[in-house]
C-alpha cells in the first residue's frame, strides 16, 4: 500500500469525517491524529490534537462532534490521539496536551456504564462495570475496549476500572470465540460474532496476562473469517478488515496476506471520494509491528 500517498491525503484535509462530505467528528479526527503521528507527520497530527483540545469540555469529556457534546465515548480516542502526539519530542513539552490528557483520564475513570442484577435469560455478566455508549445506559463491549486501550496507554493498566474493563471484555467473548457488540447469549441462544468488535477486543486484551481459551478461539475466528471474507466477496469491508488486523497483529498473528488485503481495500476506498476515517484505519493497520509500536 502506498502509505506516502495515503498520508498526503490525510494531511491535505481539515475535514475529519466518517464519510466524504460528512461532518467533522471526534472519532475520525482522533484516528487521523494517531495515524499521522505514528508515521511522523507531527505538524498535521498536532493540528488535529489542538482541535480536540479546542472541543474538550470543562469536565474533560469529548463529545461526538464539536456541536454535539453528548454522548462522550470519543473521550477515550482523544486520549490516544493526544498520547500519540506527546510521545514525540516536538510536542513533548506542550502543556495543553498533558492537561487535556489528565482531565480526560479523570473523566473516563469517573464514567460508569450501568450494571444490573443478573438475569437468567441474559448470558453475559450484567454486574460487571465497564463503559457505555451514552450516559445512564448499560456497559457495552466497544466503548469499554476504547477506554481500556486508552487508559492502558496512559499508564493506568493496573487501575481497578481497567482491570474490571478487561474482565468485561473477556466475559463478552462468545463460547466458541469472537465477539459482537456485547451480547453473548439471549434466551438460551448464542449470538453471532463479528470481525470488527472481535478485532477491537483482541487489541484491548493484548499485553495482558488474561488466560482464557476463548481468546485463542477468537484469534482463530478472526483469521478464518477474514480469509473467508477476502475470498468470497469482491468488496472489502474496510473498517472490519483494519480492526481485525489490529487485533491479530497485536497478538503477533498477522496474516501473511495482510498487506495485499490492505492494498485492495485502499484501492477500493479511492474509487470514491475517500473517507478520512477509513484512510486513517488503513494507515494504522498497515503498521506491521502493531499500532502502538514505534
Amino acid at each position: 500500500m502506498n502509505t506516502t500517498q495515503l498520508l498526503a491525503q490525510l494531511e491535505s484535509t481539515d475535514q475529519w469525517a466518517y464519510h466524504a462530505n460528512g461532518p467533522t467528528a471526534s472519532e475520525p479526527a482522533a484516528w487521523a491524529c494517531m495515524a499521522l503521528s505514528f508515521y511522523g507527520k507531527h505538524d498535521a497530527a498536532e493540528k488535529i490534537a489542538n482541535w480536540l483540545v479546542h472541543i474538550q469540555q470543562p469536565s474533560g469529556a469529548i463529545g461526538i462532534t464539536e456541536d454535539e457534546s453528548t454522548p462522550t465515548w470519543p473521550t477515550s480516542l482523544a486520549i490516544l490521539a493526544w498520547l500519540s502526539v506527546v510521545s514525540h519530542e516536538s510536542a513533548h513539552g506542550k502543556a495543553q496536551f498533558h492537561q487535556s490528557i489528565h482531565r480526560a483520564i479523570r473523566w473516563s475513570l469517573d464514567m460508569h456504564g450501568k450494571a444490573s442484577p443478573q438475569k437468567s435469560h441474559i448470558g453475559h455478566d450484567t454486574t460487571i462495570v465497564g463503559w457505555s455508549w451514552a450516559a445512564d445506559t448499560h456497559s457495552w463491549l466497544e466503548p469499554t475496549c476504547f477506554h481500556v486501550i486508552a487508559l492502558k496507554a496512559a499508564g493506568q493498566a493496573e487501575h481497578p476500572r481497567v482491570l474490571e474493563g478487561l474482565r468485561l471484555i473477556i466475559d463478552r467473548i462468545l463460547p466458541t470465540g469472537g465477539s459482537n457488540y456485547g451480547n453473548t447469549q439471549v434466551l438460551g441462544q448464542t449470538l453471532l460474532p463479528h470481525i470488527q468488535p472481535t478485532g477491537l477486543s483482541m487489541l484491548a486484551l493484548s499485553d495482558t496476562s488474561a488466560e482464557d481459551q476463548r481468546i485463542e478461539l477468537s484469534l482463530q475466528y478472526l483469521a478464518n473469517s477474514m480469509q473467508q471474507e477476502q475470498s468470497t466477496y469482491s468488496i472489502v469491508p474496510t473498517a472490519s478488515l483494519c480492526f481485525g488486523l489490529l487485533g491479530l497483529t497485536a497478538h503477533r498473528r498477522r496474516p501473511a496476506a495482510a498487506n495485499t488485503w490492505l492494498q485492495t481495500a485502499y484501492e477500493q476506498v479511492n474509487q470514491q471520494q475517500p473517507s478520512i476515517y477509513k484512510l486513517s484505519l488503513l494507515a494504522l493497520a498497515a503498521r506491521e509491528d502493531g499500532m502502538f509500536e514505534s
Partner: protein, 353 residues
C-alpha cells in the same frame, strides 16, 4: 446524506398516517354530544381513524414486485402525483446482516422494486439505514447483499449512523425523551418509507414497520445497540419515533419471514406476502393478525392505537387479500412476555434453554 434533485419542502397531507376527522364528523360529534352516552359512543366512532392495508399473496423475490408495490400503493389511495420532485428515503431492515440468515433482513429485490416505483413517479430516491448492532455499515451492506444491488440499481445509500444530526421535539411523549435526534437524510426527506421484514421479536412479540424506524436513529448518538431507547422503554420509544417522523409509508417484505427467536436468530417461515399501507399501526396490526397475535396486546400497537392509527379490525379496510385468507400463526418463544400476545392457541410455543 442523500443527494436529491429537489429541495421542495411543500407539505401535504397525502400520506399522513391517519384519516383525521372531517369537518362533518366534528360537527356531527358536537351535535350528538348532548343526546347522551349512546351519542357519545357514535361520536367517538366517527372521530376514530380508519385506514387501508393492501395484501398481495404468492409473491416471490424474482417476481413482478414493482407491479405489486405500485398496485398496493394505489389501492391504499396513494396518488403518484404526490411524489413528483420529492425526496423519498427508503428504510430497509439491516439490523445485523449475515449471509447465514437472509430472512433476518429486507431482501434487496423489495428495496429495488420500491425504489423503481417512486422513481417512476418522479421522486428522488435514496436508501438509508443505521444498522443497530454493527458499527461497520459497509459490512452490513455486503452481508445483506444490499450494497451490490444498490450499485447495480444506481441508488445512493445514506449511512444514517454517521451523518450530521439534528433534533426534533418528541411529539409522542410516551417516553421521557424530550428530543429525538435524526440524521440529515431523514430530516430532509419528504417521505420516509419503512421497508421492514415481517418477524417475531423476543421482547415485544413482533417487529414490523413501526419498530423498523429504530433504524433511522444514529448510532453515533444512541449507541450500538441503541440502548438509550431500551432504557426509555421499547414500546414508548417506538411510538415516539413514529409520532415525530413526518410523512410515512410502509411496504413490508413478508415473503420469507422469521418466526421463533426473532428478530435475529429465528427460523425462516415462507409466507409469500407483500403488505402496503399509509398508516403504520394499521399495517402492523394486520401483520400481527396474520402472525396469530392479538394487536391490542402488542404493547407498542396498544400505545399507538386510535392516536397514530387504527388497530381495530373494523376500521382497517383490507385491499387485495383479506388477512384471514393468508393468516398462518408464527412460532413464538414460550416466555411470560410473549405467551399472552397470542390471539389463540393456534401458534405454537417453543421452549428456550
Amino acid at each position: 446524506m442523500c443527494s436529491h434533485s429537489s429541495s421542495s419542502n411543500n407539505s401535504h397531507d397525502g400520506a399522513r398516517c391517519e384519516k383525521g376527522p372531517s369537518r362533518r364528523a366534528i360537527l356531527a360529534a358536537g351535535g350528538v354530544a348532548a343526546v347522551g352516552l349512546t351519542g357519545l359512543g357514535l361520536a367517538r366512532q366517527a372521530w376514530l381513524p380508519s385506514a387501508e392495508v393492501f395484501i398481495a399473496r404468492q409473491q416471490r423475490y424474482d417476481g413482478p414486485l414493482m407491479q405489486t408495490i405500485r398496485d398496493g400503493l394505489i389501492a391504499c389511495e396513494v396518488q403518484p402525483s404526490w411524489f413528483q420532485g420529492k425526496r423519498v428515503l427508503l428504510k430497509p431492515n439491516l439490523v445485523e446482516p449475515t449471509r447465514q440468515i437472509p430472512h433476518m433482513t429486507t431482501h434487496p429485490a423489495v428495496i429495488l422494486a420500491a425504489a423503481e416505483v417512486f422513481r417512476d413517479w418522479g421522486a428522488a430516491v435514496c436508501v438509508g439505514e443505521a444498522p443497530g448492532h454493527v458499527r461497520d455499515t459497509e459490512m452490513a451492506l455486503i452481508e445483506s447483499g444490499v450494497g451490490e444491488s444498490l450499485r447495480d440499481g444506481g441508488l445512493f445509500f445514506a449511512d444514517l449512523n454517521y451523518e450530521q444530526i439534528g433534533s426534533r421535539h418528541n411529539l409522542g411523549r410516551r417516553s421521557t425523551l424530550k428530543e429525538i435526534y435524526f440524521p440529515r437524510s431523514v430530516l430532509e426527506a419528504d417521505f420516509v418509507v419503512s421497508l421492514p421484514k415481517m418477524k417475531t421479536h423476543h421482547w415485544v412479540g413482533m417487529t414490523c414497520s413501526m419498530k423498523n424506524f429504530y433504524g433511522v436513529l444514529p448510532g453515533i448518538k444512541y449507541g450500538w445497540p441503541k440502548n438509550v431507547l431500551h432504557h426509555h422503554g421499547i414500546p414508548q420509544t417506538v411510538v415516539d419515533i413514529n409520532a415525530t417522523l413526518p410523512r410515512k409509508l410502509a411496504i413490508v417484505d413478508a415473503i420469507d419471514c422469521m418466526e421463533g427467536d426473532g428478530p435475529i436468530m429465528g427460523s425462516v417461515k415462507s409466507m409469500g406476502l407483500i403488505l402496503v399501507g399509509r398508516n403504520l399501526p394499521a399495517v402492523d396490526a394486520t401483520v400481527a393478525r396474520i402472525m396469530g397475535l392479538e394487536p391490542s396486546r402488542v404493547s407498542y400497537l396498544n400505545l399507538a392505537a386510535d392516536w397514530l392509527g387504527p388497530i381495530d379490525d373494523r376500521r382497517i379496510s383490507q385491499r387485495g387479500e383479506s388477512w384471514q385468507a393468508v393468516a398462518s400463526p408464527f412460532e413464538m418463544l414460550d416466555t411470560e412476555l410473549l405467551r399472552p400476545l397470542r390471539a389463540s392457541n393456534a401458534s405454537s410455543l417453543i421452549k428456550y434453554r
